[in-house]
């Protein structure tokens, strides 16, 4: 069905558009025609597409780097990637999702590649932050306090306790059903909001589910001797 040079079948639920290859019999919706115009090189249609999806792409990039200049540089790179070789990337859209979602995934991947090429694979840890000493005296104090043996020892013990606690939690998570395990990881390890995680996983009444899961985790951890009191010295109040 996908003849060479023609568009793949594409359906956008969110934007409500439809693109089909065999168009002789099938009238296209306005949005589908717009995508065709983009791929045909129509600049206005391209600008419109960018205007409608930029907010999502920028938000995805922002999750990786909050630096405004860097964010806009990456965003420009994303647009260049989409346009290069006569929209080759955009043409690879297969219509298995909404175009907006797909573009957001692409933007996030391009951002990740860009940041890794600049700072290395673990770019979050290696990223250099330039801070003025005059503006951040507290930071200087913190850095100098790091040489205090007592502070260093406390830090090491805290690190060990954290690793131990994480090991317990990971073992407890392994007993959960897959969806519930993903829910916990999305919320507590990836920082997704509870409602958003429920949306991703298709869990209705996600708050109740999460409450039940946490209760179960607590009981499993308590049975293994992992209690809030035991780790209170390292992490303060825990729940």
């Amino acid at each position: 069905m996908t003849a060479s040079g023609s568009l793949p079948l594409a359906v956008d639920r969110g934007g409500g558009f439809l693109v089909l290859t065999e168009t002789s019999m099938i009238p296209l919706s306005l949005a589908g025609i717009r995508l065709r115009r983009v791929l045909a090189g129509n600049e206005d249609a391209w600008q419109e597409l960018v205007g409608q999806t930029a907010g999502y792409m920028l938000a995805a990039i922002h999750r990786l780097t909050p630096d405004e200049d860097e964010k806009m540089t990456i965003f420009t790179t994303v647009l260049e990637k989409l346009r290069e070789r006569d929209f080759a990337k955009l043409r690879s859209f297969r219509g298995r999702s909404s175009l907006t979602t797909w573009l957001t995934v692409v933007a996030r991947n391009v951002a990740l590649d860009w940041l890794r090429s600049k700072y290395g694979r673990d770019f979050r840890g290696k990223k250099v932050v330039v801070v003025s000493i005059d503006q951040e005296p507290a930071l200087v104090n913190r850095l100098s306090a790091g040489s205090d043996p007592a502070v260093v020892l406390r830090g090491e013990r805290r690190e060990r306790a954290g690793a131990e606690l994480l090991g317990h939690v990971v073992r407890a998570l392994a007993d959960l059903p897959e969806t519930e395990r993903l829910l916990v990881r999305l919320v507590f390890f990836q920082g997704l909001k509870i409602g958003q995680a429920g949306e991703v996983l298709g869990i209705p009444r996600v708050y109740k589910v999460l409450e039940r899961v946490l209760r179960r985790l607590r009981s499993v951890l308590a049975a293994a001797g992992v209690t809030a009191e035991r780790f209170a010295d390292f992490f303060g109040e825990t729940t």
């Binding site: 409500g16 419109e48 907010g55 999702s97 995934v105 990881r185």
Partner: protein, 326 residues
Amino acid sequence: MTGHLTEDDVAGYLDHRLDSRRQREVEAHLAGCDDCLAQVADVAAALAEPASLPQGLVPAREARWELRPAIRWRPVFGVAAVLLVVLSVAVVLRVERRLPLAPAAEERATDQILAEGRELPGEPAAPAPPREQTKAAPASVPARRGHADDSSRLGLAPEAKGDAVAAGAPSVSLETESEASRPRATEAPVAQGVLPAPGAKAERGVPFADHARKAMAKVEASGRSREEGEPFDPRLRLEGELAPAELVDPSPLRGLLAEDWGADLVIRFAVDAAGRIGPDWTCQPELSPSRRERLRVALARVRFTPAGRERRRGVLRLAQGEPAPR
């Protein structure tokens, strides 16, 4: 699954467009891959809370509008619009006087007849259905009220209204208990997965006009996705008020089925007297379920007018596997 998830996989997963098997694979991968899980989380968060656009970045059309000269066009176009509306109404009224019943009016009339339990004009007399079935007919054929009622009128299953139902499950949603429990003459092809030929003599016993029985003509076909040889298990099912003898030959649709084409499409097409799908296709997205529903069902309404028959309608349901459990 080796390596990381593709962009299509992540986007499809977030939009709940993957078939259930693929979705399970993706979730299994996510359970063991922090990179892909972070990707899903980042994109989900971005979709839920898009960033505000920088000041210089606005859709081109708005920018162009600002550059347009401030001409006084509104009164001119306002008057033109009013004149156009008046002219259109006049033309429509004139045409309606000349023509017989318009299709919409014809359908309403048909619905009225069905609701009253009468037979449609110009159709062979049907044997009188049992009393319980006759009583059930009006309840299962509600009055037509625009598009929304089409789903119930045409026998759409609850998934057409956004409810999560196992795709491919037999649709008995609009049937009374007695109808559901009664064996249907046309169920055999479904159970066996056999595609009956159009005009099969053996099935002419079901009266075409017997809407009270809601004889469901069903056809199932199977195929495979061309995408990476991935098993697809699409099911093409025709159901509704279709005469078994006039089953639509779905072969022209198999190309579409073989293409992994997403869900939520409505196809409207005509079928000629020989049961062939005519060239006048129209497609449009419809009845998009909410993102939580995870439906893998495409719906299509079938309208066809066999020669010498009243207009008939049905539902074409294209189901891609089963929806994931909620």
